[in-house]
């Protein structure tokens, strides 16, 4: 087992040392360096999973306290070991199975991504969502259609709320390609009612790539 001091030494390689508030944390610069060391592209899924695995509360910032806790929990002591753990998780998340077999973990990750990517006003910019959703859902058909829907909304819609973001994952597990399980009377955000109407007006040109997630889990 690695000692507390060796973990801290590892941490300090990426730590933001220029802070004058005395907080011990890895800042955005340090996080980018860590990703480079692990050979992760900043445009990929990996940096987000890494942040999540390290218990980061916001984008690009890892506090020593959470680093220490998470690294110990993962049982890793160096970059190579950390990379292999993250790679396994990324692989899981990239297969559809991950969406259900370890759904609780995925859901936690998915919801956390909102907190990483949200803008000042506590919402996520539609532009950001359009890039992030295909990435973190491995281009799940519903999210792809949703991105199309967002495109169709044009400039009148600029942000998504946390509730809309979170419930979108629940939606993906509740409806099939024809949205047959959907009801406007239920508690879905009204944005999904519009999405539903739009889907019916614009049926998918070809059958969705991945079909019913819940069905596959059985």
């Amino acid at each position: 087992m690695a000692t507390q001091s060796s973990r801290e030494a590892w941490f300090s390689q990426y730590q933001d040392l220029d802070r004058d508030d005395g907080k011990q944390l890895i800042g955005p610069d340090g996080f980018v360096r860590l990703c480079e060391a692990l050979k992760y592209s900043m445009d990929g899924l990996e940096p987000l999973v890494l942040l999540w695995k390290l218990g980061a509360k916001e984008l690009g910032t890892v506090e020593l306290e959470s680093w220490d806790r998470e690294v110990r929990a993962m049982g890793v002591t160096d970059n190579a070991a950390l990379k292999s753990v993250v790679d396994v998780v990324v692989d899981k998340f990239k297969t559809d199975l991950a969406l259900c077999k370890n759904f609780a973990a995925y859901k936690d990750f998915y919801r956390q991504v909102f907190l990483y990517l949200r803008s000042q006003n506590q919402r996520i910019l539609v532009e950001t969502a359009k890039t992030a959703l295909p990435l973190i859902t491995n281009q799940h058909w519903l999210f792809m259609r949703f991105v199309e829907f967002l495109e169709a909304q044009g400039p009148k819609m600029t942000t998504m709320t946390r509730d809309q973001w979170n419930l979108l994952l629940d939606l993906s597990r509740s409806v099939d390609a024809k949205f047959s399980g959907y009801s406007k009377e239920e508690a879905w955000p009204s944005l999904f009612d519009d999405f539903y109407d739009w889907i019916r007006e614009h049926p998918a040109p070809s059958p969705p790539r991945s079909i019913d997630v819940t069905a596959r889990c059985k």
Partner: protein
Amino acid sequence: MPLANKRPGGRILPARRLIPQVEPQQQFDKIALAINEIYKHNVSQLSFEEYYRTAYNLVLSKNGPLLYNGVRTVLETHMRESVEHSILQRAQTADSNPTTENNEAFLFSVRLLWSEHVTAMLMIKDILMYVDNIYVKAAHLPSIYEMGMCVFRDTVLLSSTGSGGLGTRVAKAVLRQISGERNGEEINRSTLQGISNMLVELHDTASPIRTVYEVVLEPQLLAESRVYYRDMTALRIKTMGASEYARAVQADLDAEADRVQAYLALTTADLLRSVLQDELVTAYAPDILTIPNDGLTQMLDRRDIPALRVLYSIYSPLPQPLSVLRSGVLNHILVLGGQITESLLATDPGETKSGSTPQPKPEIAPEASLGLAAKTAMALRWVQDVLGLYDVYDEFFHKSFSEGPSMRSAINDAFIEVINANSRAPELLSLFMDDNLKNGLRSKAEQDVDHLLERSVLMFRFLKNKDAFEHYYKAHLARRLLFARSESDDAEHSLVSKLKVECGSQFTLKLEGMFKDMQLSMDMARDLRASSEYSDIGLDLNVSVLTPTFWPAMAPAQQPSSQATAENSTAARSDDPTSVILPSGVLSDSVDVFSAYYLKHHSGRRLTWQYAMGNADLKVQFGTRTHELNVTTYQMIVLLLFVDDSNSSSEKPLTAAKIQQLTHIPKEPLARQLQSLACGKYRILNKTPKSRDVKPTDSFAFNMDFRSPQYRIRIPVVSARSNIETEKEKAASQAVIGQERLYLIEAAIVRIMKTRKQIPHDILVNETISQLAPRFLPSSKMIKDGIGKLLDREYLQRSPDDPRLYIYLA
């Protein structure tokens, strides 16, 4: 034992047998003879006591069976003989030649035999009383009288005599008589009544709880009636109009009820009526109402109250026909209401003028503004017509539909639909009330006023968007109050209190606040006049102090008075009417004095002057002539620019831009004011060039040569008139109302969540709807949006276990 002591040694001996030893058969023959004598009406020669004793002896000597059976045989024989002797021939005649007379003769003979039999049996029963009391009871036999009845039933009615049982032939004869009577023949009802009574008195052999009437006559009667009326309906439906048909059905129902009453068993009444209802009403319920050219629609349009009453009375007892009638009435109201609304829309093809040009005043441009005035008239017409239609149907309800609850709901449902189908209904209704409160009441009697107000309130009750109505009502009421255009304070207050009854005090809070402001302003004017400051006010100044939360927002485009708004803290924008510059001198001084006076008495408040909604009387010198002009406050400010230092009129022209710069009156209203001063009927100002449009570079000069025969001149203003909104104004109103709704929805959700803490989505939606329904019907999308906003602002969160459950975050 004292009694025993009285008769010492006494012994009670058996009575001596006094019965003469006569043969039982002999004794019975005596009785048989007596029975025959009874039938021959020779009762007076018989000794009751003698026969009674004979029967007594027979029973006592254990010859009860002999006597009982013997009597039966005697009766049977008598009956058989009577039938053969006096009935059978008549029955055959009636069967082969069924004329009314033959039927009557046959039935009469049966009835006669029956009534003789009954009379005889009563006497025989008396003679044989001892038999009944002793033998019959012990042997568990029917009593003598009952036995006599059975003999009649079995021997006369059920025995096969030639062509079937006589009972069946009796029933057929009765039916022939009924049929004859239905076809207008005279029959002897009392014979039939006797026959019915006879059949009711006799019980069926197989199931004694049923009477022979129920077995032999009633089913045939019902079946035959069904056929009769079915054929009749098929014919009628082709030849009659609905009202005639209904009257005919009513007549049939009455006739049959009368028939049952007169000569049938009362149990038949309900059964027969329901046969008639089946055949005459239920089977054709929709067809009757849609008879071409003479159906329900025509009856309604003709306002045929009596015919409708008949129609309702035959339809209403039957659930299915009633619902047919209900929807028939409902649909016709929808059609008529739809026509009224259509004729309104036909006059309203959208905007009168492009939204950017200000609405000119009627006097300036009759051809252009007639559109708006005419449309307003049409709008008032719409309310008038809808209420008129309601009056018609309300009269039907009271006079034709017996105030039946299902007709009430049909009428109300229809009017709710008609009224709410017109999206402008809230505005039109308020406009209608406005018009009547301003112009309409003078010529009407008090009860008419009451009726009018009642009806208006009724329409208000039918409105779904009561919040929109409130919006318009406030605006219209504000104008009535500020321009003192209301004709009757009593009517105003009475209307508000009626609205209060409908919608609760919350709804009328602001309206009442407006009245209160006016009252307080009057009180204050009185106090001011009595105060020392009054001498510092150099003119007759009337100020209304309004509480902004009660009054509609004073839009820059509107134009009411020297009117201050208390407690208003909004910062003045450049085109804000509150930043208008008053000409210095007596006017602005007076305003300052008033402000100081007001704030002295109400410290901590803030006054914002609204010059857009006032008016002024000016004495103006045109050369040598003087006129008194009644103008708006804005116009007054403009005109005062043309007064030079020596306090006389100046002919120096000013451009529109310059006027704007000097007065800060917002552009749009300024242009309108200039138009009415320079381009209207009274040209106080000369405009160069003389076009109607006002451009910033146009110049205006005082018209010294103004001439008018009148001394006092009112420069017309549109602001005092309430017109139907233009599309642009309508959109603005809807935005205001929509915004208000979002607040109300969020407030309702928070209220519900505060008490419930946790609540599933559907219940939250339903409760929100029921909380808001008195004011408007929120769509589930609006509610969802409200929930979404509250989730986003973290007043609520979804339960981590169930996204359909909301949790209130205090």
